[in-house]
């Protein structure tokens, strides 16, 4: 399949070797080297671009003759992942350093896209500043480290205090069970039929947002889970799965959430952050700890009032059972391409981009939860916004996605189940049954278990 490319590349390599051998008599005093950095940049996500611009200046000043070639990809998370994977299929286009979602690390290690960093990390004195839990985010199935985390995140309920107060709900608000959420949402609807009381994402339009900021908060709060880490099998037929779908159905059927048509729009989150919450047209939603990054100064939907008007609450478990709350964590890393021609230089750039100054700037501008202990204890980080402590505490009840190579397909099957339920195409039981059937088809009978 890629053989012609490989042969071509090999021939080029041979020619290159011959050429360099021929020239080796003259030592190259000013060797020009270029390293290519690939990352994501959108109109509402520029924090990383700024970090890399700064790191480029720093790095080029410290390493004469080296050019850092920044290649931002303008795309949403899904398309960014696709473009990155396509670039990595050929050594000609593969980046030296790139921005990598934690849940893709393991499958991309399997694909041979990521360079093993163990030996380089051993001689990097700042590696000890990263907290142990965060280090695991870049670990492959073989136990080696392949990626270094930039920051992590948690998910919580973000609510507009004024909307709740108008409905007579005392703030600070902390629902204890799912029914508390429904009761509060119904009150808000009764007080003002024009508001969207409690929005939770659903459907394939919002992609990973649907599962990370909605369905998993429900599922993991029922005591069930998507995947059994101990058995290495996908869990099927759980009551928790059907109950979670039923909860979404109730929200959408009673019009407590956005309309199904809005929910299926991939850009609905822009309206949540940019219009509905700031304008007091939405009571609450489940969103990431990075929510303030949109509203703070320099964010894409600047809103000075968010520090007073917004509140944050833990998403409750189904009946208030232990541990009383649930959250999901993800986060992004930097990794070095396995096909890089300058692994040491690439790693050196990675450490520049992740030094204390740059990591602090990224965590503050993008409202990330710090993974470096020296950043976490920095006063500038703690004062970044009023919610830093609340969302950082959620690390205690958080869950991670089962980031196996099969995960993206399973995630889509979950999204499709939620879509079928909120559009009324299937009942929760039917959608759960179809989910079970498609998972079996996707991963095979040997990798599933009934619960």
């Amino acid at each position: 399949m890629r053989r012609p490319v490989r042969i071509g590349a090999a021939l080029l390599g041979v020619v290159g070797l011959l050429a360099s051998a021929a020239c080796s008599a003259q030592p190259q005093a000013t060797s020009k080297q270029t390293i290519k950095i690939v990352y994501q940049k959108t109109d509402s996500f520029t924090a990383l671009d700024k970090v890399f611009q700064d790191a480029k200046q720093e790095f080029e000043a410290a390493n004469a003759g080296v050019t850092v070639d920044l290649e931002p990809i303008q795309a949403n998370d899904d398309d960014y992942g696709t473009k990155l994977a396509l670039a990595q299929r050929s050594p000609d286009t593969a980046p030296d350093v790139f921005y990598e979602d934690t849940f893709k690390v393991r499958s991309d290690v399997d694909a041979g896209y990521l360079l093993k960093l163990d030996s380089q990390l051993a001689s990097w004195d700042e590696w000890s500043k990263f907290n142990e839990g965060a280090k695991a985010a870049g670990r492959g199935d073989d136990g080696s480290i392949y990626a270094v985390p930039l920051g992590t995140d948690t998910r919580a309920i973000w609510y507009n205090k004024t909307v709740l107060q108008k409905a007579g709900i005392p703030v600070p608000w902390q629902p204890k069970t799912w029914d508390d959420i429904l009761a509060a949402a119904r009150k808000m609807k009764a007080a003002d039929p024009g508001v969207i009381p409690f929005s939770m994402y659903a459907g394939t339009g919002t992609g990973e947002g649907t599962v990370m900021q909605s369905f998993y908060e429900l599922l993991y709060g029922t005591g069930s889970s998507l995947y059994s880490e101990s058995d290495k099998k996908w869990v099927l037929g759980s009551k928790g799965f059907t109950d979670s779908l039923q909860f979404l159905k109730t929200l959408y059927d009673e019009k407590l959430s956005v309309t199904p048509a809005d929910a299926l729009d991939a850009n609905v989150w822009k309206k949540v952050f940019g219009q509905w919450l700031p304008q007091g047209k939405m009571g609450a939603t489940v969103e990431g700890s990075y929510a303030p990054s949109f509203w703070q100064k320099g964010g894409s939907y600047e809103w000075a009032g968010y520090t007073q008007d917004m509140g944050v609450a833990t998403f409750p478990t189904q009946f208030g059972q232990d541990p009383g709350g649930v959250s999901m964590s993800g986060g992004w890393t930097l990794a070095v391409g396995a096909k890089t021609k300058a692994p040491d230089l690439a790693f050196k750039f990675l450490t520049t981009a992740l030094n204390k100054k740059n990591a602090l700037a990224f965590d503050v501008n993008n409202s990330q939860i710090a993974v470096r202990t020296d950043v976490a204890s920095d006063p500038g980080y703690q004062a970044a916004n009023p919610f830093v402590k609340a969302v950082s505490d959620l690390v205690g009840v958080t869950h991670y996605r089962p980031a196996t190579a099969d995960y993206p397909k399973i995630s889509l099957a979950v999204q499709q189940a939620t879509e079928a339920v909120i559009t009324g195409k299937q009942s929760p039981a039917e959608a759960a049954a179809e989910y079970d059937a498609s998972v079996k088809k996707l991963v095979g009978d040997a990798k599933v278990m009934q619960k």
Partner: protein, 308 residues
């Protein structure tokens, strides 16, 4: 030339068979570059896609590093996949409704009306119809999205009459993309039929008129049989274009809601690039190529039949 005509002919006759084959081969020389280019840029991707459809090639994971030969597994999976039959059906609906019926009939209708109307009207109508066709596909797709969406032009127009519109892309996704494709593609059929109708000899039509044939009779028994070849050619071209439509649907509905507008190109893209399953995605693409070839073969027969 200095050589007399008779001599050159006799020298031709004297060539040995080997010389003649050589001459024939040499005549092919000028087309070799275009054949090579076509081979590289058209045939090679098709062949690769066909090959990949028998593997489990993927964007990530083990299969990205070492794709394995899986035989007909990907094709067998289509038979059990619940989305594939729906998608194949929607593709047929899309092609028949928007190309064979919509673009074809509307294009012929407009072309017929234009031959009867005055020059100014004809050129005005022609410009309006062609305008949507010359737009790049992505621009046309955004225009159609802006027209049908919740706060779009259509609902604003309806609002003038006090009618509360719905979100057309959500409530009637197939109808919306079919109409958008008719809007975008009719110009092509119109141009083909304008050219064809101008070739219909006036005298036959007039003779039929003298014999008392009505308008529709002249259309059905004189005009259509004469332009039969053009109809078949046009059908072939618009069918193949419509089978391959991706951008329009992707921008307008993304294949949703709940796969209600997922045609085969959209499904192939989703499988290959959203889910990273290149093997299955290319298998769907290969089926799409086969469907195109079947349509092509049928139309080629029609064209042959049209030329006595």
């Amino acid at each position: 030339m200095a050589v007399p005509d008779s001599l050159s002919r006799s020298s031709l006759r004297r060539r040995t068979p080997i010389q003649r084959t050589l001459r024939r081969r040499l005549r092919l020389l000028p087309v070799v570059p275009s054949i090579v280019l076509l081979g590289f840029f058209m045939l090679a991707p098709v062949a690769w896609s066909f090959y990949a459809s028998f593997t489990n090639a993927a964007l990530s994971g083990q299969a990205a590093l070492n794709p394995q030969w899986v035989g007909l597994d990907n094709y067998a999976r289509m038979l059990t996949d619940s989305v594939f039959p729906l998608s194949a059906w929607l593709t047929m609906v899309f092609v028949i409704a928007s190309a064979i019926l919509g673009q074809n009939a509307l294009g012929l209708g407009i072309a017929l009306l234009m031959t009867r109307s005055g020059g100014a009207t004809a050129s005005l109508v022609g410009t309006v119809v062609v305008a949507s066709w010359i737009l790049p596909e992505i621009v046309a797709a955004f225009a159609a999205y802006a027209y049908f969406s919740q706060d779009g032009t259509l609902n604003q127009l309806l609002g003038l009459f006090g009618v509360q519109g719905t979100n057309w892309l959500y409530a009637f996704p197939m109808a919306a993309v079919v109409l958008a494709n008719v809007w975008r593609g009719t110009a092509f059929s119109m141009l083909v039929y304008r050219a064809a109708l101008s070739q219909v000899p006036r005298d036959i039509s007039e003779a039929a008129l003298m014999d008392g044939a009505r308008g529709w009779q002249r259309l059905a028994f004189i005009t259509l049989p004469i332009i039969r070849g053009s109809i078949a050619t046009n059908l072939m071209l618009i069918t193949l274009q419509t089978l391959a439509v991706f951008t329009l649907i992707w921008v307008m509905t993304g294949g949703g809601p709940s796969n209600a507008s997922t045609t085969l190109p959209v499904l192939a893209y989703q499988e290959a690039f959203k889910l990273g399953d290149i093997g299955y995605g290319t298998a769907i693409a290969s089926v799409l190529i086969l469907i195109g070839m079947v349509f092509g073969a049928v139309y080629v027969r029609l064209i042959r039949g049209a030329k006595p």
